[in-house]
Symmetry: C2
Subunit: 231 residues, 2 copies
DNA sequence: CTTGACATCGAACGGATGTTCGTGTATCAT
DNA sequence: ATGATACACGAACATCCGTTCGATGTCAAG
């Protein structure tokens, strides 16, 4: 109230910015000018307008004239550029549908699996995957037991997979070995009619399967997440 | 137009959803009903209203009555939950500041490290970490080489860490072993004045260090990410 | 002292916006 | 055939909303 010189971001500017951020965060759309005023103790819409104009000049927001709630957040209080729009599509939830255990086939979801009903999911930033990788049919499994160390995955790790039945060479896949009653995660290579399953652990030897019929590809591994326990 | 039975997401629903997503993405605020109509070839605001009500019943959107542009996107076309608001705060970028190599100390950022200047970062969903885990000082390192298999991390894995100099028992830490000129990732236990460094790999034996002065704790591991290459 | 810049206010206005209502057409089941 | 339901339309209305205007107060500089 005593700041007479224009010195940049004043307290009222900050207060409005914080409110803009919070409101959009909670509601999915920007506040109106009256809502801004009510929540920042400004009684007149023209004063709110005045400050919004200044925030626009300082490139914290962008406004559309004569558009209700036409306010776009550009920077946050610390001046960081906000990718508000893009962020919406840059994270997704992968349903955790079960466990991956050495002695059982992978529980691959059926084609009519309802991806929205899962109660447990794991949030993944889209940028962790290649741009072309589709996300809709990904599923997550929790590793159970110590039997997957050749794949360098540990008890409790989360393995995110895509259901496939045909593998390309070099892909890390989950296969069910019918003659051994065993699930294993390995790099898949089809060479001269035989299958080579290469462990991720460089100290371990590959498995060679003469008859590919014994190798049931169940899914392709796209991501492994290990969370360390909070102690 | 011929579909008289109510069958769920119809073409018009999809068209509107796509437009909602695109418009919000580009403008930072939702479209008005007339804008929706103009862009989906619907000539009447009441028809737009009709479809928006249906999309709300199907939980793709949420609406606020009598609020201009009071539309919140809840799910996208594929049905994935959008955390439009929360996503802004539920994802963050961890700077990748270097590599973790067995023969060198961990490059821990200094206290005046500028976290915003890093060009390489890795996006992490906030939910992958415990709620109390602060995110501001986390840094990421890329594993180089095959020398960390006792920690079950592989060449190319991303290890996300917090700088600490004192470890609690049971924490997965990066330590610099001064007598061996070696960095290693292990579970830390201080027992009767001696340090036990337990490998994550259950087939491997612990290291016992009699003099804790030789154990320089450099950081605590909070998350490991393995991305499988697209082939 | 005056002047200009900045900040604050409320009232008023006109346009933006959402909602309701009634009508018409098509489809389906009985 | 009838009745019920779903979808599509335009008109009308009331409220929401942004903008403008004029007035007032404070401060700093000349």
């Amino acid at each position: 109230m005593m700041a007479r010189k224009k010195v940049g971001l004043g307290e009222r500017h900050k207060k409005i910015l914080r409110f803009l951020e919070k409101f959009h965060s909670e509601n999915g759309y920007p506040p109106s000018i009256r809502e801004i005023g009510e929540n920042t103790s400004i009684s007149s819409t023209s004063v709110v307008n005045y400050y919004l104009n200044q925030l626009e000049e300082m490139h914290y927001i962008e406004r559309e004239s004569n558009v209700s709630r036409g306010i776009r957040l550009v920077r946050n209080l610390e001046g960081q550029l906000l990718k508000a729009a893009q962020t919406v599509t840059e994270m997704f939830t992968v349903p955790v549908i079960g466990r991956i255990v050495a002695g059982e086939p992978v529980p691959v979801p059926s084609s009519d699996f309802n991806y929205y009903d899962q109660e447990t999911g794991i949030d993944i930033a889209r940028s962790l995957l290649p741009p072309k990788e589709k996300t809709e049919d990904l599923f997550a499994l929790e590793v159970q037991g110590d039997s997957m160390i050749d794949a360098m995955v540990n008890d409790g790790d989360i393995v995110i997979m895509r259901p496939i039945t045909q593998a390309n060479n070099g892909e890390m896949v989950a296969v069910w070995l019918a003659d051994r009653d065993e699930t294993t995660l390995k790099y898949f290579y089809l060479e001269n009619g035989r299958v080579r399953l290469q462990p991720a652990n460089p100290l371990m030897s590959p498995i060679i399967i003469d008859d590919p019929a014994y190798v049931q590809v169940q899914g392709k591994v796209v991501l492994v997440i290990r969370r360390l326990e909070e102690s």
